[in-house]
Symmetry: C2
Subunit: 453 residues, 2 copies
């Protein structure tokens, strides 16, 4: 298939059909109607806004999560915004059907209507970046900016988003650190089309700074500050937010996820295929992978503290790195780490090491030598040095338990204690982690060489 | 037992009884008589000399090896000395009974008479160190010097020699590198008694230079040169040969063997016991030692080239060290090495390592990165770096065979080829090496902490 055919076929699958469009439009107007009713009933000075991909008409066929923001005037106190916002959410939630409470910067209502998940989030009705007070306030501005600038390239965005999903580079959540939908939209607007974005993968990395909103001209000082800050943190891209010069839209994009995009773009342009958009799920047997590599998998299972991903996962990562370092000090080679909310994977070269270590001591004819001779049980000479044996734990589980006991590892502060009572599994993981273990051990997660190419 | 009692008991065992003394005297005069006969018959201008511990009366009871030197005038050519010396040896050998040929710097005759081994060695009849032409010429001077200077301290020498044997520090052979008999005699003459020598173990190491022959006064330039040379080679002791200022009598003494003497002296003076003179043989099970330590023993068995120990063993040592280094590069930890004429021991942390190695490659967005990506089969990203897997031999025997095949190890030049067709044994040695393996793995060889103390 040539590239046009591939794109055509992908579009068939991701562009909503007329019927779906009608369903979405009806859905949105019904919800908006009920939201206005609610605001009136509660006598609130607030406006409903749809934000996100449905509002921007960049959603993928079948992908209907809806974000409804209840925007309050800027002179509302934060306390009142929270209280009234939540109240409105509950009332509207009841009108829509069932709902539950969810938590981000403030609590909000997650409702369901006609099988579609609807998040009802209170925010300030900001007109400019200067008004932004809470983390979600910018969303209204983002939606507005995209609608104004997309100029009919909605399907180009759909292609790019589906491509990013296919190559596992989509989503700015902390456990992904890939491209957000908004970042995808900006790149399509900046470079003009799905294919142009792919062609510019190397170019944009080298250019580094993307300033679609032309902030360098309008607010050069603030923009420079943003660039300096993000450059110091060595981000792969600095995409100045078209609605806020203080923000890098790609702040959470990791080098690894950009790398997946980098190589996949190259590969797709060389040898296009629908596989990039709709890959088969990568599945495999982690035990076979262990056998092939001759390595071993240590899995720590623990009960995580009740923290959101954004707070918890960096702590788990720090802990995993700390344990890897501690094991390296104990003489195990750690080939790689991975983690999730309640587990840490450590791939090691072996699970058993000698039960003794050999210490090189001082020169034998010195007073230090004399003390070493007296302190140690088994002492011999190599050259001029005294040598001694030190008994150590040989099995990696003992070694880890010793590390836990002594607390000699760096860890996230809310994780350090719970990790100490982890279950330690060797070369075995519970069923739900089996494919995760395979993806880790096979390095498929950030693999850039496809078997299809 | 106090120290006098211990010494008294040791003397009982090592000083020859009257009967034995008579036997030795008769033996020597009979052999001397036959030697004179032989010289006369062959019409040689040569003199017979006894050298060694029987001649000096410092031999241990029951230890009767005899060295008879046939000394030729200095104007004899080396060729003639060899020819006539060997001829005299053969004739005398026949008179004494059976004999065989042995080889050192020149061939010589090894005969047997009344159950005593008699080496018949040709040499020059030197009167001074300036005349010395072959390696054995000094022996006559040594014997003469000791007889003149020992002043009745023969039994002190016997005690010291037996002590050195007991603590495994006796013998200047290359595979021991301990104290020679002559060195033991000089130390007793220098310090006055067996116990004084022991008390001076630390002192002599710190003083470093022992100049019993007072060469610094008589030949300061040559003596300084000797000291400088030996100091540069970092010898534990520099004992200027009382008969030759160019030579360090302790040149072959290793730091390890001196260390055995150093600690044993200390221990004996603190807690004297007959054990030091007559230790039970150290025996043990090497397999239990492996189990206790959790380490593994790799044994290479090979057919050595026909070279004398002095030439072969340093080459085997170099080879063992070279292989240890090569294995370390391959990711095995080598805890220790040992060797003999036809074997090398390597104690390692494991016999199996992962079948893959992980290579960190270049930055992924560079041309180097592109080449790395194309060259390698499995490629993934960590941070900004490309990573790849490399298949490697996992079992230590495969790894060694690969090292042999590539020749990537330093080795003695006459050993490098034969080592490549070694039998490689893992955690098993043939019976004759079993105790050697135990002594190595338990580090009893240079152990300085005794279970008795």
């Amino acid at each position: 298939m040539d590239i046009e055919e591939v794109i055509e076929e992908a579009l068939q699958k991701i562009v909503p059909k007329e019927e779906e469009e009608r369903f979405v439009k009806t859905l949105m107007s019904e919800i908006e109607e009920k939201a206005r009713e609610t605001i009136e009933e509660l006598n609130l000075n607030a406006k409903p806004y749809f934000v996100g991909s449905l509002a921007k008409n960049t959603y993928l066929a079948g992908d209907h999560d809806l974000d409804l923001f209840i925007a309050f005037p800027l002179d509302t106190s934060l306390e009142k915004l929270r209280e009234k916002g939540l109240e409105a959410g509950k009332v509207l939630g009841k009108k829509l059907g069932r709902y539950e409470l969810a938590y981000a910067e403030h609590p909000y209502v997650r409702a369901e209507y006609k099988g579609v998940k609807v998040d009802i989030v209170p925010c300030y009705d900001v007109k400019s970046w200067k008004d932004v007070r809470t983390a979600v306030d910018r969303s209204i501005l983002h939606t507005k900016w995209v609608i104004e600038n997309l100029k009919g390239k909605n399907n180009e965005v759909r292609l790019f988003k589906r491509f990013l999903k296919g190559i596992k580079a989509y989503g700015s959540e902390i456990y992904v650190r890939g491209f957000s939908g908004y970042l995808a939209e900006i790149l399509v607007i900046e470079f003009g089309s799905f294919l142009s974005v792919l062609e510019k993968a190397d170019f944009m990395l080298k250019k580094k700074i993307i300033d679609t909103g032309k902030w360098m001209k309008k607010e050069s000082e603030i923009t420079m500050k943003t660039i300096k800050r993000e450059a110091e943190e060595d981000k792969p891209l600095i995409v100045i937010d078209p609605v806020d010069p203080r923000r890098n839209v790609a702040a959470n994009l990791s080098w690894e996820r950009f790398g997946l995009f980098y190589f996949s773009s190259m590969q797709f342009l060389e040898k296009p295929s629908l596989e990039f958009f709709f890959p088969g799920e990568k599945r495999g047997n982690y035990r076979e992978e262990l056998k092939r590599k001759g390595t071993h998998l240590v899995t720590l299972l623990f009960t995580p503290p009740k923290l959101v991903d954004d707070l918890l996962l960096p702590q788990v990562e720090k802990t995993a790195k700390g344990l890897a370092k501690a094991l390296e000090i104990e003489g195990f080679k750690v080939f790689g780490i991975d983690y999730g909310r309640n587990f840490i994977f450590l791939e090691v070269d072996r699970v058993e090491k000698p039960r003794i270590e050999i210490k090189r001591g001082p020169l034998y004819f010195t007073s230090h030598g004399r003390r070493f001779y007296e302190k140690n049980e088994k002492v011999w000479i190599e050259g001029k040095d005294l040598m001694a044996e030190k008994k150590v734990g040989g099995f990696i589980v003992e070694v880890l338990e010793e590390i836990f006991k002594k607390g000699q590892f760096s860890a996230g502060k809310n994780v350090k204690e719970v990790i100490k009572s982890s279950d330690i599994l060797i070369d075995f993981v519970p069923k739900p982690l089996a494919n995760e273990a395979y993806l880790f051990l096979s390095r498929e997660k950030f693999n850039v060489k496809r078997s299809t190419s």
